[in-house]
């Protein structure tokens, strides 16, 4: 990291910091959950199209190859997400706040 980037982190804009804090308190939970919902739908789409990459062939490879250019950018993060060991506590649906 460049020195000036570190410096800029040391002196943040106060109003921006307050706005960020407020967003963290009020908006981030909703945004994170929306992202999680979208990601679960995308995972399903990826599974049906390129599932053979993780050993679950659903579509014939012909169609997978036709779709490959469109899904290519997401493959790395998708594989990382679905192949990672997960617990139920990982999901926002089961976060318990306030204790």
């Amino acid at each position: 990291m460049k020195h000036d980037e570190v410096q800029s982190r040391e002196k943040p804009n106060r109003w921006q910091a307050i706005r960020d804090f407020m967003y963290g308190m009020f908006g981030m939970e909703i945004a994170s959950h929306a992202i999680e919902m979208r990601a679960s739908m995308e995972s399903l789409f990826m599974l049906t199209t390129v599932g053979d990459m993780i050993g679950i062939p659903v579509l014939p490879p012909y169609y997978s190859l036709r779709l490959l250019p469109f899904v290519l950018p997401q493959i790395a993060t998708w594989k990382r997400r679905v192949l990672r060991e997960r617990e139920f506590t990982d999901e926002h649906d089961y976060h318990l706040d306030g204790l």
Binding site: M1, V6, R9, P12, Q16, A17, I18, D20, F21, M22, Y23, G24, M25, F26, G27, M28, E29, I30, H33, A34, I35, E36, M37, A39, T77, W78, R80, R81, R84, E85, E87, F88, T89, D90, H92, D93, Y94, H95, L96, D97, G98, L99
Partner: protein, 636 residues
């Protein structure tokens, strides 16, 4: 003592501890490095792992840890021991244990590829640790659900100005979910509509009610419910109670007298009989209206537990957080201004130290300051749940390692100020007990900002905010409880994998505790389970630091203290139940026995984890055993 002194003491201590204790540990022991890649960067998937600005993450982490815990515990402890022991434990606890627990749990997860604490314990300590933590979490949730359901049902039945706001909150929750996710309306507009309507409903609840006066014209503490909404609620409760002809369906006894249905003692120190409390025998009557409100809460929680989270639970939480923030925020302004504007309000009316309830009489409950204070006030000083959450949520979004302290430690210190504000509210209120004292204190603080005419409305808002804080947590508890239950025993009992079955089983167990249990004992056992979880998280960090050949003193000593304290508290609570409630027989005895068995389970589980942790620690200390077997991901 007044409110300003609390503000000054807290500000000075937090500044000193953060800068001269926490920062050196972050720098020298943990050696946080701004250049080291965090899991959020290494494994970014745009969902769970996502580098996030530290100010955003600070707000998110604070919102996730702060609500009912720091408020309810302080209220209970201040009523049992006075404000001074509560203040001392809050400040000492957060300074030397609380921030260290939250911060270190995030750090250990960051240095272990963003794995959760239970996954790390599985690898670092012993495989069974993970299984035992499941049992821990389930009973922890059961106890807190019982404690919260009990106090909420009592308040709804006893305070006719409160239910209207809660009913509107439920309706607004549905509406907010619909407006946000289906109608795609602007968040600010939705917020304005639902928060204003809910706040208005909470303020309308007490309108028309007037304090009852004695013959000399002084307030007696009782209220005439003659307003349009509160009188309707009185009539509604009365109509339900006619089902049993006004007779109790069952009676229970609360040796701690903390049940909201037990009236506060008068000036002569004696309690008077009410429609639900018999002063001569000390028994509390469970009337049909109480059961109705239990049922109302169960339906509320059932919807939260089984509907998609965006449909109900999340919008209710969102509204609830606004209500809480506005109420607490204005109360905080009142607390700072009170000594200058209205010194009489800012002065503490509660005893600094109450006569210690450590009575070594064989047939009576024991509430010694140690260890019971340290489990009664859990969140606000230290909480195991924070560590669990920090390791799975915040740790995976940390942009830089150096953000762990301002986010994890900073949020804990901020939560501590929330607990202090609750302590201030309870301490300045001269009358009432438990939640009533908190609400009265909030009402007084709000008069500093909004004028004397706001007292009754402010008190209602205090009750409303208290209810909202507790309710928003309770609705999520059943959601987590049902999934914990199905994860834990779903393979052995496949029926429990069905979310409706697991929710109903969780609710039946909770209702059994609500109807037969005693609120304070439930709370203290929850506190013990929570603090044990904190001790276990500190244990995991201690073992990890030993593995990394670093000095674990800043977590080792807090861990030993919390471990011994909470084990002792678990035993004392079990003993209190056995001595004071089991001899009564009937349903109360059944509830007490259930709680004694749960405490025995928690005790044995904690001993097993402690033993495994000790062996792992010794293994790493000798440089062999576990150290050689540790998986690569556990390495720094």
């Amino acid at each position: 003592m007044n409110t300003l002194w609390v503000v000054i003491i807290a500000a000075v201590i937090i500044y000193l501890i953060y800068n001269f204790y926490a920062k050196p540990i972050d720098r020298e022991v943990i050696q946080a490095d701004v250049k080291k890649a965090t899991p959020a960067k290494m494994y970014m998937d745009g969902v769970d792992f996502m580098p996030t600005n530290r100010n955003v993450l600070f707000g998110y982490h604070f919102k996730s840890i702060a609500a009912a815990g720091p408020i309810v515990g302080v209220i209970t402890a201040a009523n049992l021991w006075g404000w001074l022991p509560a203040l001392l434990w809050l400040m000492i606890g957060v300074s030397f244990i609380g921030w260290a627990s939250d911060y270190s749990a995030i750090v250990v997860a960051v240095r272990n590829d963003g794995n959760s604490l239970s996954a790390i314990s599985h690898r670092l300590i012993a495989p069974r640790t993970r299984s035992i933590m499941f049992i821990f979490i389930f009973f922890y949730l059961l106890l807190i659900a019982g404690a919260f359901m009990g106090i909420m049902a009592s308040l709804l039945a006893a305070r006719p100005d409160v239910p209207f706001g809660i009913i509107i909150l439920a309706i607004m929750g549905f509406l907010a979910g619909q407006m946000l996710y289906r109608w795609k309306m602007d968040l600010i507009l939705v917020t304005a509509i639902v928060v204003i309507v809910t706040l208005a409903a909470m303020i309308f609840g007490p309108i028309g009610a007037t304090p009852k006066l004695d013959t000399s014209g002084k307030p007696t503490g009782a209220i005439s419910w003659v307003g349009p909404i509160n009188s309707a609620m009185v009539a509604f409760n009365g109509a339900i109670d006619k089902i049993s002809g006004g007779n109790a369906l069952l009676t229970v006894t609360d040796p701690t007298a903390a049940d909201p249905r037990v009236p506060a003692p008068g000036a002569d120190g004696k309690r008077v009989s009410t429609s639900v409390y018999d002063a001569a025998t000390g028994t509390i009557k469970t009337l049909p209206s109480y059961l109705f409100w239990v049922l109302f809460l169960l339906v509320f929680a059932y919807l939260s537990a089984t509907l998609p989270i965006w449909r109900f639970a999340q919008p209710v939480n969102y509204i609830g957080f606004w209500i809480t923030l506005l109420t607490i925020g204005f109360s905080a302004i009142g607390a700072v201004l009170a000594p200058f504007i209205k010194p009489a309000i800012g002065a503490f009316a509660l005893d600094a130290v109450k006569p210690l309830t450590w009575v070594p009489v064989a047939s009576k409950a024991w509430q010694p300051l140690w260890p019971m204070l340290f489990v009664t006030i859990a969140c606000g000083a230290i909480s195991g749940w924070h560590a669990l959450f920090g390791s799975i949520g915040t740790a995976r979004q940390l942009e830089y390692e150096t953000d762990a302290l301002p986010v994890g430690g900073g949020a804990m210190f901020t939560e501590n100020t929330l607990a202090l504000l609750s302590l201030v509210a309870v301490s300045i209120a001269g009358t009432g007990g438990g939640a009533g004292r908190f609400a009265a204190g909030v009402g007084s603080l709000l008069t500093v900002v909004f004028g004397d005419g706001f007292k009754l409305l402010g008190t209602a808002l205090g009750f409303g905010a208290f209810m909202v804080i507790v309710l928003t947590v309770t609705q999520l508890i059943f959601r987590v409880m049902r999934v914990t239950l199905s994860e834990w025993v779903g393979d052995a009992l496949p029926a429990l994998k069905n979310m409706h079955v697991s929710t109903i089983v969780s609710m039946v167990l909770t209702v059994a505790l609500v109807l037969t249990g005693t609120w304070v004992y439930l709370w203290q056992m929850f506190g013990a389970a929570n603090q044990l979880m904190a001790a276990l998280s500190l244990l995991i960090v201690t073992v990890w630091l030993k593995q990394q050949k670093r000095n674990p003193a800043f977590v080792l000593w807090p861990m030993i203290f919390m471990y011994i304290t909470t084990l002792a508290a678990t035993l004392i609570t079990a003993r209190n139940l056995y001595v004071t409630i089991v001899p009564l027989g009937g349903v109360e005895a059944a509830g007490a026995w259930a709680m004694v068995i749960i405490s025995a389970l928690l005790f044995v589980a904690a001993i097993l984890i402690g033993w495994d942790g000790y062996q792992a620690y010794q293994g790493f200390a000798k440089g062999g055993g576990k150290a050689k077997k540790a998986a690569p991901a556990a390495a720094d």
